[in-house]
Structures are given as structure tokens and as C-alpha cells.
């Protein structure tokens, strides 16, 4: 599903190359659940955003579902992202002033889908994320856990195969975090490929099949 070969990412600061990601090689199979572990600043978010096509690598090759994602023109990259990748952000990133139902619809809109169909799909996704009872509420009216369910619904609405989560539990209390892990398990059982970047210790005791990949100062620790 995800194939990364010799990936480098550096920022040039005062003419000096500062490597954020260094010679990363990683292979993730379809249906796998990967926990990307590492301290703050180790490069988890950067790696995740390169896999999602939100950021470009400095060199190297990234294939997602067979597509060379870092070399796709914007139009193709965007529609690929809309259809194949669902992202759950650390701070949820819902649109303010827009109801959860409409928020969940956003990824579908760009593909030119009809309004009725989009609304139905959003409704289904909200149900899947267990938040359909708050469909008409805007983000301000919701708690952190509820916002996150909304964000999950949005990530699932186009029925993508790859789900990327960046610090999904950082803004949640323990109960909500556990419930998130429960949702993750359901997604895993549905056969989705999942990558979670986190330093939350809760993810160390998952009760379903997963792989832990550790990243430190931009390099993977051990075998990828």
C-alpha cells in the first residue's frame, strides 16, 4: 500500500541542509496498522504529510497504492487524496461555523458529486463514527471527543483505503482516547490500512494486530 524508498527531506537554513527525514525506507502492506512512534520533533508529522501528499520530499520515492504521490500534479494529487486517503488531524481541523454533517461532506464536494448523494454519504460516515446524533451541531458546540468523531467521519466519508492519524489522542482525555482506539480497531477490522503517528503510551497496549515503527531524529530505528 505504501512504499517509501530512500526518502529525504531537508530544509535549507543559512545555506546548511538540516535533515528532518534521512534515508527512510518503509513498506506498509494493505490492511496493516502501523504505529509511528517518536519523541517530539523526530519527524513523524513530516513523514505522514509526505505520505499524504501534503508535503513534497527533497528526494526519494514514495508510492501510495502504486501512485508516485510526490510527483503528481496538483489536480491528480488532490483527487487522489480525496478518494484514497483519509486524514485525522491532531487539532481536528473542522471548519468553524459549519455543521458536522456539512463538514463531513467537504472531501466529496470537489469531485463534483450531487448534493443529495453527498448528504447521504456524510450521514453514513457520521453513523460509522458514532456521532450522527450531533450532525447539525457546529464545532464550537462540541467537546473534544465529539469533534474528533466528526473528524473521523470526514476522513471516512469517501471510503478511503488509507487512514492517516497525526497525534489523534493528544487533545483527548483517557476515556475518549480509549474510545478512539476502539474505533481504530473497527477500521482495522474493515481492512483499512492505518498509520498513526503518536507518542501516546496508550498505543503500546493495543489488543489487535499492529506494527510499531520508531522514528528518531529523522531516521527509522531498526528495520522499516
Amino acid at each position: 500500500m505504501v512504499k517509501i524508498e530512500n526518502l529525504n527531506k531537508f530544509y535549507e537554513i543559512d545555506g546548511q541542509k538540516q535533515y528532518v527525514l534521512n534515508a527512510i525506507n518503509l513498506n506498509i502492506q494493505k490492511g496493516e496498522c502501523v504505529i509511528l512512534k517518536g519523541v517530539s520533533g523526530s519527524g513523524k508529522t513530516t513523514l505522514l504529510s509526505i505520505i499524504a501528499g501534503l508535503d513534497k520530499p527533497s528526494s526519494g520515492k514514495v508510492l501510495v497504492d502504486g501512485e508516485p504521490i510526490s510527483k503528481l500534479p496538483d489536480m491528480h494529487l488532490s483527487s487522489f487524496r480525496a478518494q484514497k486517503i483519509g486524514i485525522v488531524f491532531q487539532n481536528f481541523n473542522l471548519l468553524d461555523g459549519v455543521s458536522l454533517a456539512d463538514n463531513a461532506m467537504v472531501p466529496l464536494i470537489a469531485s463534483g458529486i450531487g448534493l443529495k448523494e453527498a448528504k447521504l454519504k456524510a450521514q453514513d460516515a457520521l453513523k460509522l463514527a458514532n456521532i450522527d446524533h450531533k450532525a447539525n451541531k457546529t464545532p464550537i458546540e462540541l467537546s473534544g471527543g465529539e469533534k474528533q468523531r466528526g473528524a473521523i467521519a470526514r476522513a471516512l466519508v469517501a471510503n478511503p483505503n488509507l487512514i492517516l492519524c497525526d497525534e489523534p489522542t493528544a487533545n483527548l482525555d483517557r476515556a475518549n482516547s480509549l474510545s478512539f482506539i476502539q474505533t481504530l480497531k473497527e477500521l482495522h477490522n474493515m481492512g483499512k490500512t492505518i498509520i498513526v503517528a503518536t507518542h501516546d503510551s496508550l498505543f503500546e497496549e493495543l489488543d489487535f494486530e499492529h506494527r510499531v515503527v520508531e522514528i528518531s531524529q529523522g531516521s527509522l530505528v531498526g528495520r522499516g
Binding site: 501534503l54 508535503d55 487524496r81 456539512d102 472531501p107 469531485s111
Partner: protein, 390 residues
């Protein structure tokens, strides 16, 4: 459109952001209102003038003495009738009569027995009993004249003072009621011979002679023939008059428009700055859209439709308000500025004419300025990196 999710989101976004747009829409509406009002007024006046021109003859033959128009002898009429291709040769007697320093009216003499007279007058005369009208020295007066006479206690007749110092008593027969407000208010219609007396013309003298030439391509030819009739003859064509009207209003309208474009340029600059200073919140929202799968093209589409909607909204609002202001309220304030205080009474109301060319002029000026100035800032927001959402 109804089932289009993109438009649904667009309206959602517009409603959500309405507070951000209020200022821009208000200023835009005001600017459009201003331009629309001025253009509506000038096109209405032009229309009214052209309307009266339609009824005007193609050619007017005048006598020039010392560089000024002076009465023309009526034997010229016979010579003109003989020119091949000339139709509807009409003797015309008219002139201004000053009731006092401030008020004057146009006296029009009509040869009532001549069926070739002005079409418009024929319409007026429909409701007048010609026999009793011609039996005495009678006149028809416009509403403005009637009001003036009433306020000076002349209810049944008026004594005109002719240039030779004699009094000429004329009865007020009836008030005129004509659609074209430009003509109707301050005119007096009376039989030709009576008008000659009041205006101090001799019996064989006319103000000018009007004629028509149905075949356009004969115009130049006939104009030359007319001019060669007499050394002191001047020929004015309908096109000359049209051009004179056109230029008259172009001066005022054009100067206004140039000033207006300077205001618009300032507005564009402000708009450019306003859009360039996109809030971090707005950037974040675009980044989110981009992150969940919107392409740069989609965002550009959203943002441009948003702005096009603003332009259309302000345009419809501004021009409708201007319509109400000019044609229903009669353009208070602006009328005084535009007409410069002269001949004000002629335009109590404006005939509502709004043609495509005026509307498209307003729209083009505004849309070019507005969209042109937000073009680059909007693009800058649209290419926000999606990773800013993380």
C-alpha cells in the same frame, strides 16, 4: 444547480463569512449606486431628447443675419417645395416669451389647417374641438404655464406684450397634457398667425422652415441644394442636432466618469490590500480544504465564484436602488448637480429608460476593477500549502 454540492458549499461559505463581506458589499453597492444614478439620469435625458428628435424634421432651413438666426421669408417655402426628393415642407413659427425675469415659455405657432403638422401636436389636438378653438384668439398651455398664470391670477386669459409694445389678449383654452415631460411643461400652442403677432413677426415671416428627405442617400445632395438657395440660408440636419445633444451630455457624463474612475482605482487599491492581508484563519481554512482533497483549481473556483457573487449582488442592489432613486424619487440632490440649476422645471420626473448598454457599462467598469484587483491576492490564498493545516 439545486443538486450541486459545490454551489451548496458556496452559499454555506458566503453565509458563514457574511460579516467579512458586509463592508465590501456596502462600499461596492454605494459605488454602483452612484454610477448607476448618473448614467440613468443622463440616458433618460438623452432618450427624452431623442424621442422629441424623432418627431423632428430631417432638415431645418434658417435665415442667418449677422451670424444670428433671423426670420425667414415665406416665399422660400415655394422654392423648397420645388426641389426633387423633398417632403413635408412645414412653415414654423416659435419663440420664447418672457413673462418676467425668471419665467419664460416656448410659444409654438401651428398651422392647424395644415394636415402635415407635427404628429405629436396632432395627437394633442384630438381632444380639442378645433372649430371653437379657432373661432377666437385661443391658446393651449402646458402645465408649467398654467401654474404660473394661475399664481398670477390669470385664469381665463392673458395679455401678451408684443415686441412692438402692443397688447395681445389671448384666451386660455385648455391645459396640455403630454407624456414627454421635456416638452409639455412650459409651452404654449396657438395658431400660426397669432403666434406671429405675439412674437413680433410680420405676416410673411417665419421662424424657420422644416422639411423631410425620406431617402437617406439624398441628404448630402439636398443639403447642398438648399444652401445654394440663398446666400444667408443655413441648413441644420437632424444628425447635427443629435450630435449636439450627444456632446452636451457627454461633457457632463464624461467628466463625471473620469472622476469616478479615479475613485474606483482607489477602491481597487484598498480591495487589493484588504485581500492581500488574508487572515490566518482564512489561510487555515483553505489549507484544510486542500488537505482533504480540494485542488488549487477547486479553491480558485470557490473563491472566484464567491467574488463574482459579491459583484453581482452589489450590482443588482446598487442599480435597483439607483432605479428607485432616479425614476421613482426623481433623483433629489443629484438632479441639481447634474442639470446645473438650469431649466430645472422641465425635468420634474425622468422617463424610466434603462438599456443594456448602460447596464453593461456599469457592470463592466465595476467587474473589471473588482475582479482585476482581487485576482492575484485570491490566487495567493488558493495556493496555500495544505501542510499548513497540520
Amino acid at each position: 444547480m439545486r443538486n450541486n454540492s459545490f454551489f451548496y458549499f458556496l452559499t454555506l461559505n458566503l453565509l458563514k463569512e457574511k460579516r467579512r463581506f458586509v463592508g465590501i458589499v456596502l462600499i461596492s453597492t454605494l459605488l454602483i449606486f452612484l454610477l448607476s444614478s448618473v448614467l440613468f439620469i443622463s440616458s433618460s435625458i438623452k432618450h427624452t431628447l431623442n424621442q422629441t428628435l424623432i418627431a423632428q424634421p430631417d432638415f431645418i432651413v434658417q435665415n442667418i443675419k449677422g451670424g444670428r438666426v433671423s426670420p425667414i421669408k415665406d416665399e422660400q417655402v415655394d422654392k423648397i417645395v420645388d426641389i426633387f426628393g423633398v417632403k413635408k415642407v412645414t412653415k414654423r413659427v416659435y419663440g420664447r416669451y418672457f413673462f418676467d425675469d425668471k419665467y419664460s415659455a416656448l410659444i409654438i405657432g401651428v398651422d392647424f389647417l395644415d394636415e402635415q403638422s407635427n404628429k405629436k401636436l396632432a395627437k394633442i389636438m384630438d381632444s380639442v374641438d378645433l372649430k371653437s378653438f379657432l373661432s377666437k384668439d385661443n391658446m393651449l398651455v402646458g402645465q408649467g404655464v398654467l401654474n404660473y398664470l394661475k399664481s398670477h391670477y390669470y385664469t381665463s386669459n392673458y395679455n401678451f406684450l408684443t415686441p412692438s409694445g402692443q397688447m395681445q389678449k389671448v384666451n386660455i383654452f385648455k391645459a396640455l397634457n403630454v407624456k414627454s415631460s421635456l416638452l409639455s411643461n412650459d409651452i404654449i400652442v396657438m395658431p400660426l398667425e397669432l403666434a406671429q403677432k405675439v412674437l413680433g413677426l410680420k405676416e410673411n415671416e417665419l421662424t424657420d422652415i422644416a422639411l423631410n428627405v425620406p431617402n437617406d442617400s439624398e441628404w448630402a445632395n439636398i443639403k447642398a441644394k438648399l444652401e445654394s438657395l440663398n446666400f444667408s440660408t443655413r441648413v441644420v440636419t437632424k444628425k447635427d442636432m443629435k450630435k449636439a445633444y450627444e456632446n452636451l451630455f457627454n461633457y457632463k457624463g464624461g467628466l463625471f466618469l473620469v472622476l469616478y474612475l479615479i475613485v474606483i482605482a482607489t477602491f481597487s487599491l484598498l480591495l487589493y490590500l484588504r485581500y492581500s492581508l488574508a487572515s490566518s484563519l482564512e489561510r487555515k481554512e483553505i489549507a484544510i480544504l486542500r488537505a482533504v482533497g480540494w485542488s488549487i483549481k477547486d479553491v480558485l473556483k470557490l473563491k472566484f465564484l464567491e467574488n463574482i457573487f459579491l459583484v453581482i449582488f452589489a450590482f443588482v442592489l446598487g442599480s435597483s436602488l439607483a432605479y428607485i432613486y432616479v425614476f421613482i424619487l426623481g433623483a433629489p440632490l443629484l438632479k441639481d448637480i447634474f442639470l446645473g440649476g438650469a431649466n430645472l422645471k422641465q425635468f420634474t420626473t425622468f422617463t424610466p429608460v434603462v438599456d443594456y448598454s448602460v447596464l453593461s457599462t456599469i457592470f463592466i467598469v465595476f467587474a473589471v476593477a473588482f475582479l482585476g484587483s482581487v485576482l492575484i491576492p485570491v490566487w495567493k490564498i488558493a495556493v496555500t500549502e495544505p501542510k499548513e493545516a497540520l
